[in-house]
Amino acid sequence: MSFRPDIVIVGAGIVGAACGFELAREKFSVAVVDAAGIGMQTTAAGMGHLLVLDDSEEQFALTRYSLSLWNALAKHLPPAVEYSRCGTLWVAGDEDEMAEVVRKHTYYGERGIQTEILDAHALREAEPALRRPLAGGLRVPGDAVLYPPCAAAYLLQRAAELGAKIFLGKAVNSIRNGITRLADGTVFHSKFIINAAGQFAPKLTPGIHIRPRKGHLVITDRYPGTITHQLMELGYLKSAHSISADSVAFNLQPRKTGQLLIGSARQYEVADGNVDFAILSRMLKRAMEYVPSLGSLSAIRVWTGFRPATPDQLPFIGPWPDDPSIFLAAGHEGLGITTSLATGRLAVDFLLRRASAIPVEPYLPSRQIEGVTHA
């Protein structure tokens, strides 16, 4: 093949798509290659939330930056992307969790994100389907949800309009020293290769610390108006933090279609994609504790997926020290939809050798070698 792109991107998930979009906008010639199709792995399996999270200062910086990029893009997104700025409502069950609401409110506010504290009464007004009693909640009005496979397709369509070439159904055998070898014998020579293969990234770049973290989701039939915000329990922070044990947390999303997406569950060290009825049951019961009327709604589909998780819960964005032709953009765990656009920007900044809007050091893959990431 005579096509000689500047950059080859391996992976047409949301992260690869965002990198393709940002690079094509900067006039790079880009090839995007995926073994399956657009957004068929973690991108297809996830909830599609765009939210600011404060597990760490670095996570907050990346999610806040990326959300600002999504906000700028929002008006261009076609209806199929189902973008909806429904906001997140963090639900506090008791006074301890209410203290967390206050802390979060202050933390977000000091960093320029407006939030609103709701007392028990205001929470009831905002979401009548929630059980009573609850202590209150925190509304983050800027958060949004979208339908990720179509978001990835939109970004790649924009990239293609700017000249990017998209190769779907093409497995990549190896990437090394600027050479990308496809299973069908095609070879690309390029200056840089972006490994955006998500949970499969370590197969192409051995040594990266990315482990699949399994999740389960349930989607219901259409019940428009049941809830209007994305609902999250504050216990989520505690349970998601536990690195080894299986955990469930209440997370309920209203989709634009009127459907409800019920999450979430996290499991490590499970390789098969089978539905695990034990954890599914725990997840549903947790959701029904918060929204009792869910029990009578019709569930039409259950599925599983794998998040590409890193030891310190931050993605790898930056050059791979062992091979300067490889740029990693992988390991976004459950936040890949939110942080994809920022990842694309950081990749462009690196290639153009320009300063980024946020400090890039926390996300550099070299932190792994320095031993910082070993939790």
Binding site: K285, M288, S296
Partner: protein
């Protein structure tokens, strides 16, 4: 909220049509405890719907009577949404049934394939079998003009029944060629059991135009169907019509078999001479092993029932009849193979998926059912792809082998109450 019922049986039969009734009855007559589950309000399946207590169909009344006298316990309006090793869960309007079983017999039947063409979503455009059922349950058709289009002998049966109820059947539009149809007619002459029925049909339909090489191009009308545009021998004709009933074959309902990992061969569940699937103790009978009508389904069901009861001697006695039925199935498949031109029936804006309003043009861009589903939402609605999946399979050659739980939409509370030991072995090829 949900009442819960936990029971244990030697045999669980899923599907209460002829195959399931045959299987359940003989297994019970051999002394086994048998449960028969069906999602309809009555036994009989699509073909014998509502014939309980009627004396007209001798086979039907024989089996309704026999199953009624047996020890079979049946649970109606129950959808099996989860099957694991030795255990299944079904939901009926107010109860979740947890059933432990030793042998499982799948008799899940078939549904109509509907191929999309412009106007197919207009009111009064129906499946051929659906029209049949509606007339049976009281839809008045006296004096109504009906066009019946599609393929296969089902069209003739529906036409005859509609005429009997006073409808004017304007024409039967059969997509296959006259030559193939004639061959099929000859093959029927070799099956004496079919002969009488065929003569009767031919007699009843002698006044009805029966066009070969003919298929619908569009259903026309504003609020509801007013006329049907047909392609007949390459010429376009328009026929004024109150109803259009279409049937482009029955497609086997394989979801359950696929879900538990039964091998599928050429689009049907692979079974041995005793109707056992590749999973020991799991049998399959009726349309999922080959579309052959109720007589074959009855025989296959009985073989499965006898085999489950370990009465292979009795099963063996039915092999010859079953094998004759299977020869008939192959003749049917040859005669009524869908022609390529039918893939051109939909226009760019013709809906393929009604649940999610997905037009043909949007689907064409995709390479696989997985990709099309993900990006267009085709098949993601409450019918779970049961309608558009069969259409997409024919139109694009996509196969849909991954079946996800729940097998049917089910209340969240029922799903949450699933016993945790029920972990099926699912092998998914794709992502999600």
């Amino acid at each position: 909220m949900n009442a819960e019922s936990k029971r244990s049986f030697d045999v669980a039969v899923i599907g209460g049509g002829p195959a399931g009734m045959g299987a359940a009855t003989v297994a019970a007559e051999c002394g086994l405890s048998v449960v028969l589950l069906d999602d309809n309000p009555g036994l009989g399946g699509q073909i014998w719907r509502g014939e309980s207590g009627s004396s007209k169909h001798t086979q039907a009344s024989h089996w309704f009577d026999r199953v009624g006298r047996s020890s079979v316990e049946w649970i109606l309006e129950a959808r099996v949404f989860q099957v694991g090793k030795g255990h299944l869960s079904a939901e009926s309007p107010d109860t979740v049934h947890q059933i432990a079983y030793s042998h499982l017999i799948l008799a899940t039947g078939a549904r109509e394939r509907f191929l999309p063409f412009p106007g197919w979503t207009l009111p009064n455009v129906l499946g051929a079998g659906a029209l049949h059922s509606l007339i049976k349950s009281g839809l008045p058709v006296e004096g109504k003009r009906i066009v019946i289009a599609g393929t296969g002998p089902l069209l003739l049966a529906v036409a005859a029944y509609a005429r009997e109820k006073g409808a004017q059947v304007a024409c039967i539009a059969e997509q296959t060629t006259g030559a193939k149809f004639a061959c099929f007619g000859l093959s029927v002459l070799l099956v004496p059991e079919e002969l009488e029925e065929v003569w009767q049909l031919a007699w009843q339909l002698q006044a009805v135009p029966h066009w070969k090489n003919c298929w619908p191009v569009a259903a026309l009308g504003k609020e509801r169907l007013e006329a049907v545009r047909l392609s007949h021998h390459g010429r376009i004709r328009e026929i004024a019509s109150d109803y259009l009933a279409c049937g482009f074959h029955l497609v086997p309902s394989l979801e359950l078999a696929q879900f538990i990992g039964c091998a599928i061969q050429d689009g049907y569940v692979a079974v041995d001479e005793n109707q056992q699937t590749c999973i020991p103790g799991v049998y399959c009978a009726g349309e999922p092993t080959g579309i052959g009508g109720f007589e074959l389904a009855l025989v296959e069901g009985q073989i499965a029932g006898f085999a489950a009861a370990n009465r292979k001697d009795l099963a063996r006695k039915l092999w010859r009849r079953r094998d004759a039925g299977l020869r008939h199935v192959r003749a049917l498949r040859r005669a009524f193979e869908l022609r390529d031109e039918l893939r051109n029936m939909p226009q760019e804006d013709t809906l393929v998926c009604r649940c999610e309003d997905v037009p043909f043009g949007l689907l064409r861009a995709h390479q696989s059912w997985q990709s099309a589903k993900l990006h267009s939402r085709c098949g993601m609605g409450p019918c779970q792809g049961r309608v558009c999946g069969a259409a997409a399979e024919f139109l694009f050659g996509w196969s849909n082998s991954s079946v996800r739980p729940p097998l049917f939409p089910v209340r969240c509370s029922s799903l949450a109450e699933m016993p945790v030991e029920t972990i099926p072995e699912i092998h998914e090829g794709g992502s999600k």
